[in-house]
Symmetry: C2
Subunit: 249 residues, 2 copies
């Protein structure tokens, strides 16, 4: 029996943008809240990780959003469970749902366990694996990756300095902020007129306090809809890459 | 009998900074959440305001923080009530407390009712005053104002572009962001080593999406402790001013 973790959360006005719906960044932050809480409940959370000198680090996300979205003041259900894992990777599913079960968002994330002192990937400690109450998987499910873009024609960029308050109580730049940096250059007119239907984001290098990231976007109007491509860099160093599918409001 | 509004809120990891405590900006956002909810409950909220073509706008805040502060994952009590009002101004008290009644933060705020079409102050509609269940006050309590600083010697500045996601579901730049803009230039070393004990912030002009604000700070080490002075400007236009008293951690 796969352990599943469920919690309720009332969406505050400051978690929503002008459209009255949670921002993508906040939605991701909420889902991580659910997995943090599950990890703590099953004994593989921050305290346990710290005992191994390690921490969970996100590798990539792939998500889908429903036609309907949660609204300000709404109480939503955050659900998460480990879908699969091997010695090095954990694949975790997340859902944001209404109280009556409408799925607002489904996200899959792949995580690794990193040594915080050596800053490198280490095998997941057995005692933490025990917390999953699940057999290991030979072939991990693959998450859809961002599109490989080689020609950034018509792309535009904006710079964002990493601020002190971008670092949260996990002592790292909250990975949800990457979504804000990626979406903001699209501008208010675009962001008010469109909503996210699908996204794939892959992280490569962590950004740090005091650095300035360059967020590059390219808008691609295909026959099936609008797709945007995103790149977050510090200097020439690629830190994250994403593809987002949009629908007109 | 003065109506008082109470709600519970569990503090998320993304509402806290590296110290594991809520940021000043988030604490303010939480308090406004409580007053938004009270306003809605007593029929003077967003929907009612909109019917008069108006909205509540903050003029200034004065707050005190306790020796102990709320922590990540803690369930806190948010309390608010209207302390006094006249035709044009409402003075509102706010508290963040632990479940056992420890006061983490006490804030008083003065609000006006603005015509959103004419962008000017208007008399508070009688039907909204009725919602307060309180007699009007002849002499409104005065909030402590930020210090009058004329010499900004040794001051330093940073620029912040107002981003799309700085606008919340109330369709304005969330006023809590001013605290982030004011504190961030002090830098991580200062912010990790000190905590806020007292603050006074006065708003003058609203900042808008796409503008770039200049946040100027001056650190003043007095015999009784460290005081910082803050100015938020757009060009030469003053938008907000604050004084913050700090204590070493």
């Amino acid at each position: 029996m796969v352990a599943e973790f469920t919690m309720h959360h009332r969406i505050t006005y400051y978690e929503c943008d002008e459209t009255g719906h949670p921002t993508l960044a906040t939605a991701i932050a909420m889902l991580i809240l659910a997995s943090d809480n599950e990890n703590t409940a099953t004994g593989v959370g921050q305290a346990a990780s710290a005992a191994y000198g390690g921490g969970w680090v996100i590798v990539n996300y792939a998500g889908k959003l429903g036609e309907q979205q949660a609204k300000v003041d709404e109480e939503v259900v955050l659900r998460t469970r480990v879908r699969a894992y091997n010695r090095f990777f954990v694949v975790r599913d997340f859902w944001i749902e209404s109280l009556s079960g409408t799925v607002y968002m489904q996200v899959t994330g792949m995580f690794v366990f990193m040594s915080l002192t050596k800053r490198k990937l280490i095998a997941i400690p057995q005692s933490m694996i025990d917390g999953f109450s699940l057999a290991p998987t030979k072939r991990l499910p693959r998450l859809e990756k961002p599109a490989e873009v080689t020609e950034w024609q018509g792309a535009f960029s904006r710079e964002y300095r990493v601020r002190y308050f971008d670092i949260d109580s996990n002592r790292h730049v909250n990975n949800a902020h990457y979504f804000d940096w990626m979406e903001d250059p699209l501008g208010a007119d675009f962001l008010k007129a469109h909503r996210v239907r699908k996204f794939r984001l892959a992280f490569d290098h962590e950004v740090r306090y005091g650095q300035t990231v360059t967020s590059t976007c390219m808008v691609d109007e295909t026959t099936t809809g609008i797709v945007t491509h995103h790149l977050i860099r510090v200097g020439e160093h690629e830190c994250a890459r994403a593809t987002i599918d949009w629908q007109e409001n």
